[in-house]
């Protein structure tokens, strides 16, 4: 196997960080919907904290993206 192929596989493995972010944001959104269904008047503050939580959970996926991009564009 050539070096380029191994780097491509490494970048693909780095993209697996998306799994964690997906599960995290899914759980957070589910709980937020439950909260809004139970207490519709608190929808505003729930939305704010949901956006913040989703952005924080998304960060792990972004780190994976950055690692994959570094591997692809700097090493290939």
């Amino acid at each position: 196997m050539t070096g380029t192929g191994i780097i491509a596989i490494a970048a693909a493995i780095a993209a697996f960080t998306g799994i964690g972010a997906g599960i995290g944001i899914g759980l957070a959104t589910g709980k937020a919907v439950e909260g809004i269904a139970r207490q519709p008047e608190a929808a505003g503050s729930i939305r704010t904290s949901l956006l913040l939580g989703a952005a924080l959970a998304e960060a792990t996926a972004i780190y994976g993206l950055v690692v994959a991009l570094v591997l692809v564009f700097l090493k290939m």
């Binding site: 913040l52 952005a55 998304e58 960060a59 972004i62 780190y63 950055v66 564009f73």
Partner: protein, 235 residues
């Protein structure tokens, strides 16, 4: 296709300033940021001219923006919000314009020449913004707790936490910079790929999400996290 993408991602020298024999290359990122700064300064002067007690149309717009920022900072930093609202608001307005600047391209197409692209797709710009944020956090700690109180905050709640508290000051700017950089670069690459694959109709719809929503959300998150770090430093 890969070469086109790499060309769009990298920053290029727009022109060279010749100053006393020194050649200073100016990249297109800096030119884009100059344009954004000029727009912000002109808008600020235009919207706040002839302020009066009974606001006119222009003053109303300025008041909406300022009140929106003040309320957000007030939620995060209840007591000392007045000292930090101007900085946080400036950073947020700059980031909103910087992240969404690629929708203002009037001249379409063409790889050659100057195009408006988000300057935050370069990691140096986001690292600079994150270092500025952490400097404000340190300033807030020293200003409102004194030098002694700020140093003491490193061994709270117990001295065992000392290495973690020091690491905090490294991790916070790293995560701020990488989050902004990764989000904007990711959205930028996706948009470039869409422009290559489906040049009509599709970009108009998807640009709403990838450029507008993502850019404004990341600007908001950057500002929100900075204000939370400041309020932590004030405790």
């Amino acid at each position: 296709m890969g070469e086109k993408l790499t060309h769009a991602m990298e920053s290029h020298t727009a022109f060279i300033i010749n100053l006393f024999g020194f050649k200073i290359p100016v990249s297109d990122l800096v030119v884009t940021m100059w344009i954004i700064m000029a727009i912000m300064i002109v808008l600020a002067i235009f919207l706040t001219r002839k302020l009066s007690l009974i606001p006119n149309k222009r003053q109303n717009i300025a008041e909406i923006i300022v009140e929106f920022i003040n309320n957000m900072v007030k939620d995060a930093i209840p007591h000392h919000w007045k000292a930090f609202a101007p900085y946080l608001g400036t950073v947020m307005l700059f980031l909103v314009l910087a992240n969404t600047v690629s929708i203002f391209n009037i001249i379409p197409g063409g790889e050659e020449g100057f195009k408006l692209r988000p300057p935050t797709r370069n990691i140096n710009v986001t690292i600079c913004l994150a270092v500025m944020s952490i400097c404000v956090v340190i300033y807030a700690g020293i200003r409102y707790k004194g030098v002694g109180g700020w140093i003491k905050s490193f061994v709270k709640p117990t001295p065992v936490m000392l290495p973690f508290n020091i690491l905090d000051y490294l991790i916070k700017p790293t995560s701020l910079a990488l989050r902004l950089f990764g989000n904007i670069l990711g959205a930028f690459i996706v948009m470039e790929l869409i422009y290559m694959a489906l040049p009509i109709f599709a970009p108009a719809l998807l640009s709403c999400y990838f450029d507008l929503f993502d850019g404004i959300l990341q600007a908001y998150v950057f500002m929100f996290l900075t204000s939370i770090y400041i309020s932590e430093a004030l405790e």
